[in-house]
Symmetry: D2
Subunit: 137 residues, 4 copies
């Protein structure tokens, strides 16, 4: 299976990504650029986006990117710093750097930026790469 076929299989029938309104911008083995627009129901009591929104976007980018190499992956540890407030109507886009890829472990830095190209969150995630291949029976 190609990277896009793998991500298709993960993304289609994914109710939470649908709810978030995630769009796939670009993708390949080890990377995936995602985008969403902040809606009213994603806000917290301060009228800024809940931290869970940027986290969910980055966590999806991590899962899609790591799996797109062809082997099924599970996340081991993820961390995020929210460095700028996210407002209603903001358009968030991820960029990803694969900082390490060994046989068993992949490590990724993901930056979430708004429509003004300002960093809003820095995410780091590590995954365990299982032996199971996408598309194998």
């Amino acid at each position: 299976m190609t990277a896009s076929e793998i991500i298709d299989q993960m993304f289609n029938n994914d109710p939470f990504s649908k709810w978030l309104g995630i769009e796939r911008v670009e993708e390949g083995p080890g990377f995936c650029v995602l985008k969403l627009t902040v809606r009213e129901e994603m806000l917290n009591g301060f009228s800024i986006a809940h931290g869970g929104i940027s986290y969910a976007l980055a966590d999806s980018a991590l899962a899609f990117s790591a799996n797109a190499h062809g082997r099924k992956c599970v996340s081991v540890e993820t961390s995020i710093s929210h460095v700028q407030q996210v407002m209603l109507g903001d358009v968030l886009t991820t960029s990803i750097e694969e900082i390490s890829l060994t046989h068993k472990i992949g490590i990724y830095n993901i930056t979430v930026r708004n429509q003004h190209d300002v960093d809003v969150a820095h995410f780091k995630g590590s995954v365990y790469r299982s032996e199971k291949e996408w598309g194998a029976n």
Copy 2:
């Protein structure tokens, strides 16, 4: 303002917490126990809850707990490990330990458990405690 009055103010008019269906179980200065039930629209393409759901629940518990001491707080860094799959219908509850509280910084460990009392995620968060007091003009 009391801890509950502060959390009221954060929680009421919080659209994302409403969408998540978060219930407040117990709270006070430095702690807050939250609960949610996993719905269909919180699932990912594998029919398990998206990692963003446990993260959002724990991140809300962090914000409510830290602010409930009376000073306005912002998160500095958060991390989470998802250690057990979360299924449709699971009821997730947080527990929190304030592992450090200085004048300027608070650090918290939050465990998310399911209805069988099995740990599903381990979250750690640090906050900066500003000078601004809740309820001050």
Copy 3:
């Protein structure tokens, strides 16, 4: 091999642990309690222990504890918060909790405390558990 035999093999001929003056207090599969006394040459320019000292002690405890289950492990991600200053002459001891152990991944919380039983650092580490067994040819 028993837990202690594995840790013997890791600890003996370990020059940095010797330099640190690490003592093994208690150990078994999945846990290891270590101790050291802070010496002059471990201090930074503020006359408090360098953050690398508590980190190194906790990182050793992680390695010994995880390997003591019998399979060779490598660390994936570690984090530490230094919450209290460590002074010359302080005696630091680790305690460890294995918060998750699956076939491939182990996750541990380690607390470093001083001789007054005050927490000085909170460390979290995840390891990948390889197929290689200790003592196998």
Copy 4:
């Protein structure tokens, strides 16, 4: 005080940095490049450098970089992934990126590379920036 005067004051009379053999390569407000050569006594029982060595180097780079802006800083949370083995005689150098700087909080990514320009560790650290200025009475 200039960045270099501040780092002088932190670095001079710092016994652990001396023991590590840390050299300062380049520095200024918000950044500091450090270097060390791995010696026998820095190795663990596998004849590779103990994780505490890369951590200590990166943690020093964090402290020097953050303080070099002029205000006294304390670290809040640090994390490191060790992605490549470090051998006897390796020469490790840090590079640093200030990924966020607000009035109260600074966040930094530090990469540790060996003499072949291969990444050996990825470190992330956040600091609290106090009101106290270097050089003030």
